[in-house]
């Protein structure tokens, strides 16, 4: 059974149509990479699935576990097991890393999750979630926090941005953990070495999925396409 099914959704902001009839499905335990150039709506798709305020499809349906979730609020979707790690995670004043990782469940061992994200717990658990953390550190803590939630579906919006090349393996490790835990992952990325570990990949352009299939095939197509800003003429791949 499909865990997440996006059925022909359209989404418009004022006069600009972001999506027109976009469809996508994700199986339980599937890592699904989403590729696309800047401004093609990858993050918007993430917000639509997560249910951020103001992000409701104009038409079409989003189904989770066979039930429509279009009109569920963000925290109601989180209760179903959907979560997200933002591309640029926010900082919090007065909240320690330990408190952040145990917000929802005080019983868990936060150290375990920091280690999964490549951080030494002794150095981080008592630090504050404020601007004393670098962008890369904050990003890893966000990854650790979403693993700790034990979600059924996690959206990772460019988990590799702001992370140095040598630390990509930590990101891959976290994705593997999700997979081992049976979680599905929507993985938004620009990096081929991240995308190819997915089970499936799709490329978004001009408001639609223009290419879907094996990650190697989709990344190859993504790299070789000619159009920079697609008008729908070049992206007719089926």
């Amino acid at each position: 059974m499909v865990l997440l099914e996006i059925k022909s959704i359209s989404y418009r902001v004022k006069e600009k149509e972001i999506f027109s009839g976009l469809s996508l499905s994700v199986e339980p335990g599937e890592v699904h990479a989403i590729l696309g150039k800047n401004g093609t709506g990858k993050s918007t798709l993430a917000y639509l699935v997560m249910g951020c305020e103001g992000y409701i499809p104009t038409t079409g349906e989003i189904l989770f576990d066979g039930k429509a979730i279009n009109h569920l609020l963000l925290h109601e979707r989180a209760k179903l097991g959907i979560t997200m790690a933002w591309q640029e995670p926010v900082r919090f004043e007065g909240i320690s890393v330990r408190e952040y990782l145990t917000l929802k469940n005080k019983e868990i061992d936060p150290s375990k999750y920091l280690e999964m994200a490549g951080l030494y717990p002794g150095l981080y658990l008592n630090r504050m979630m404020d601007n004393t953390l670098s962008g890369g550190e904050r990003k890893r803590i966000e990854l650790a926090s979403v693993v700790a939630l034990d979600p059924r579906l996690v959206i990772l919006d460019e988990p590799d941005s702001g992370i140095d090349m040598l630390s990509i393996r930590d990101i891959l490790n976290v994705i593997t953990v999700f997979k081992e835990n049976g979680a599905s992952v929507i993985l938004i990325t620009h990096r081929e070495e991240i995308a190819i570990i997915a089970d499936k990949a799709s490329e978004i352009c001009n408001g639609k999925i223009i290419c879907s299939g094996a990650p190697v095939k989709v990344t190859q197509y993504y790299k070789t396409r000619k159009c920079e800003v697609c008008a729908g003429e070049e992206c007719t791949f089926v």
Binding site: M50, L74, H75, A78, T83, E93, I95, V146, L149
Partner: protein, 311 residues
Amino acid sequence: MSELDELLKSFGEAGGDQSILANTAFAHLAASGHKILSRRAVKGIELDTVESDKGISATVRLLKGTRLLNPVHLCFGVLHRSGIQEINMRVNFEKDSQASFIAHCIFPKAEKVKHIMDAVIHIGENATMRYSEIHYHGIYGGIEVYPKARIIIGKNGRYFTDFLLINGLVGKLMIDYGVEVGENGVAELIARVFGHATDNILIKDKVALNGVNSKGLIKTRVAIENNAQAQVIGVTEGNARGARGHVDCMEIVKDNAIAKAIPLVKVSNSLAKVTHEAAIGSVDKKQLDTLMAHGLAPEEAVDVIVRGILK
């Protein structure tokens, strides 16, 4: 029950450690209204007090070179429903001295209470004072609090203050602090207040960086809800070469509450620099979304954010 026991009981109920006043290693001064209930000095500190119908006068002298390991506890309060407490403090930290003061201000039943604190503090050369003032107010909101202080910091002197009022209704709060910072001196003023109902909050901090390479920070964190009002005025003057100042104000507003922030920076020396930032508004939406994506309900998420900034 004696008045001191009653004060201690309220202090304990507010989360304080009641045994502190019995501990001979700690200097303290405890007063209810205009009556001094208990006091103790330790080696290196002189504590003179005078009580009258008009108020309490306290003179504190930290002797040259004294470094107190344990904080000095000031325990002030009005335990009755109505009353007035006026305290005039003169504090002198002599050269090379160092100590922390913690003031516990307790007004559990206040329906018509006024608490006035007027302090003049001299921080001598190389001396350091840390002063925390923690208020425990009741649920009635019938209290007016007027903390006023003038602080003069000498060469290499350092003064840190942290005002905390997040328990109970604020009532009316009118903070008025003014600091003059000498050469290489440091002043850090932090205030954290949570206002509810019809609370009325005014926080006015002024730091004059008069000495070469002096430094100042005014940091204010206010959360208000219901029909509360808050105004924060942070004034910093850079009057000397190498002076560095910063004003940082954040106010979170809920319901029908109204917040204002007036950061005022003035530089009279071309080699001084003063910066400011102010953020007023509802809870940050991205913070809220992030916490809700972690499974928190909206009201839980707001609570976590507000408690965080007031921590």
